[in-house]
């Protein structure tokens, strides 16, 4: 017997978003990416933007984001997603253009592209996954890595005297006149996921309304890179990440 024969529509409490396809995800169990992908798929569907949406995937763990959501995608070189998004939106002003970037992509190699796209107030949404580590390459130090945090390239912990401190790039972006929304969210509880969905929706609405650049920073876990169980990673994030990257709006106009 097929499960669908047992579950009646009135009893259905959850279904995979329509825009998410059946490709097997490459993300580690417990990783935040899958949840954020789901949120984006739900928002695109809710806003009826599937035919208008063009996503820009980064280099990093989300390099294959284009495999999971049934919309048109471009895969950018490392850090360059906001440059691609700039051109797409300028050439197709009625389209919904968003980038999906990790902390290395957005806050290290792509700092210039991020800052200047935001400074021009490009009408795009930037979804920024900050898990304080390079996941794809195996757990190296990121610009957002916390002080004293151990990674494969800071084996004795990040020494802020020689390696710099955790880069609060959202705070920098919030200062720019081109930015209409700079907000930090998370996806570690059901309530947090709901809030994230609201903010991603607002970011997409802002982009379509021509209000300027919206950045949604998702403070995330990388339990594999942090070498913890998913549950422990959630606790560690709340305890250690949130004090440095406080949840909430830095700017929302």
């Amino acid at each position: 017997m097929n499960p669908s024969d047992i579950v009646s529509p009135e009893n259905l409490v959850y279904r995979k978003p329509e825009l998410m396809n059946d490709n097997h995800m490459h993300y580690c169990p417990g990783c935040s990416h899958g949840v954020v992908h789901k949120v984006i798929a739900e928002v695109i569907k809710e806003l009826g933007l599937q035919e208008k949406c063009i996503g820009v995937a980064p280099v990093g763990c989300a390099v294959f984001a284009y495999k999971y959501l049934d919309i048109d995608w471009q895969e950018a070189a490392h850090g360059r997603a906001p440059a691609l998004a700039t051109a797409i939106k300028r050439l197709l002003p009625d389209r919904m253009v968003f980038t999906y970037q990790g902390d290395g992509d957005l806050a290290a190699i792509g700092t210039a592209e991020t800052i200047h796209a935001a400074n021009r107030g490009e009408n795009i949404a930037i979804i920024f996954i900050n898990n304080a580590i390079y996941g794809m390459t195996g757990g190296q130090m990121a610009p957002t890595t916390l002080s004293k945090m151990v990674t494969s390239t800071s084996p004795d912990g990040r020494d802020v005297q020689t390696m710099g401190g955790p880069l609060k790039i959202l705070d920098m972006l919030a200062l720019l006149d081109g930015v209409c929304l700079a907000t930090r969210v998370s996806v570690h509880t059901a309530a947090a996921v709901k809030k994230t969905r609201r903010m991603v929706k607002l970011a997409f609405e802002n982009a379509m309304a021509g209000k300027g650049t919206s950045i949604v920073e998702v403070v995330s876990t990388c339990n594999a890179g942090w070498k913890m169980t998913p549950a422990a990673a959630n606790d560690w994030m709340v305890e250690n990440m949130f004090p440095v990257y406080p949840i909430g709006d830095l700017k929302n106009i």
Binding site: D72, W73, A87, A112
Partner: protein
């Protein structure tokens, strides 16, 4: 109606030709000796007329990646720069070759290496035709020798780029970019509608319409077996280009004993050298490659059976000479004469070099 003839710089001709061709987006960053291109575009303000987007990016890196974004939407997208800026664009060019994206890049070369000089040079030949960025790829390369060709090659570059889904480059230099000549600009064409772009470029990311799979533009393929297939597809395309799209110009080659081989501004200088040589009774011709890749290998090989020697004249230390030598397969001596670091030789210099290097006078 009389022909509309204008007098302008090569750089300005590129800008006007781009607007008239119906280019959708220009993304650039100022650098001498080609800043007139973006300045002309900003002055002309085509966003008010054709709807063309003109954007000054924060860097050459950003500019080439904007071109990637525009090209992936099937839009006519272009950037221009000069040697140091073109070095910065190599990452983006490699990615576009890998993602099979058509675009136009203009390199108004200046002397290098490094920051070098702002004076003209042809020292980026190797970078352009041998790779530049990483991976096995080829860049369609056009070398104009006049302001007229600067204007004409905008259309030619986009046509070849879109025909083969490959980046194309106009490789020119500070002489052609800065000098003023008469030019007949192309007729205005209107920009394509999104529906026309969809029809021309079914692969473009314009938004997923019902009934088709998502369009995904990427150069990534982790499965080596598939990545080899991708590379084989690129190579097959390059072989077709080498077969079908070679362009060159022959000047007084029919009765020539010696052949000068030169492109762009160096070829202009050689035209005068031919005159001077023939006044002295030396039968010299000029073969000017117009496409530097694909290179006119076959025609050079044929001339190797007819002439006694060839001299390449280049504003570099000897780059194209290697391709000419490969082409003639050792049948005749091939020498090189070049000036470096932004110095442009005179026709006399070239004639002296011909005598000294080709028949030891």
């Amino acid at each position: 109606m009389s022909e509309e003839i204008s007098l302008m710089k090569g750089n300005e001709a590129i800008a006007h030709a781009a607007i008239r061709y119906g280019v959708d987006g220009y993304f650039g960053y100022p650098i001498t000796p080609q800043s007139e291109i973006i300045e002309t575009l900003m002055e002309e303000a085509p966003w008010k007329t054709t709807g063309m987007v003109v954007l000054q990016a924060e860097s050459e890196v950003a500019a080439i990646n904007m071109v990637y974004g525009g090209a992936a939407c099937g839009k006519y997208s272009m950037t221009t720069s000069s040697s140091p800026g073109i070095s910065l664009k190599q990452e983006g060019i490699s990615y576009m070759a890998g993602a099979e994206l058509p675009c136009l890049i203009v390199n108004v070369q200046r002397g290098g290496p490094g920051l070098g000089t702002i004076q003209p040079s042809q020292a980026d030949y190797f970078q352009t035709v041998k790779g530049g960025g990483h991976g096995d790829y080829k860049l369609i390369t056009l070398a104009p020798n006049s302001v007229q060709e600067m204007a004409d090659f905008v259309a030619l570059g986009f046509e070849l780029a879109f025909k083969y889904r490959n980046p194309a480059m106009i490789l020119t230099d500070g002489v052609i970019g800065q000098m003023m000549e008469k030019v007949k600009l192309p007729e205005f064409r209107r920009r394509r509608t999104n529906e026309e772009v969809r029809a021309q470029c079914p692969w473009a990311t314009l938004g997923k319409i019902p009934g088709r799979e998502p369009n995904i533009i990427t150069s990534l393929e982790l499965d080596s077996a598939l990545m080899e297939k991708n590379n084989e597809r690129f190579q097959a395309k390059y072989r077709v280009l080498e077969e079908k799209e070679v362009l060159y110009e022959e000047t007084q080659c029919d009765d020539a004993d010696y052949l000068l081989v030169a492109f762009g501004s160096a070829a202009r200088i050689c035209l005068k050298t031919i005159e001077m040589a023939r006044e002295e009774g030396i039968k010299v011709g000029l073969l000017r490659p117009i496409t530097l890749w694909p290179f006119p290998t076959k025609v050079l090989n044929r001339y190797a059976d007819k002439v006694k020697g060839m001299l390449t004249v280049e504003l570099n230390a000897g780059q194209m000479v290697e391709d000419v030598r490969l082409a003639v397969e050792g049948k005749i001596p091939v020498k090189h004469y070049g000036r470096l670091g932004g110095i442009v030789p005179t026709p006399d210099n070239v004639l002296d070099a011909l005598k000294e290097k080709c028949f030891h006078r």
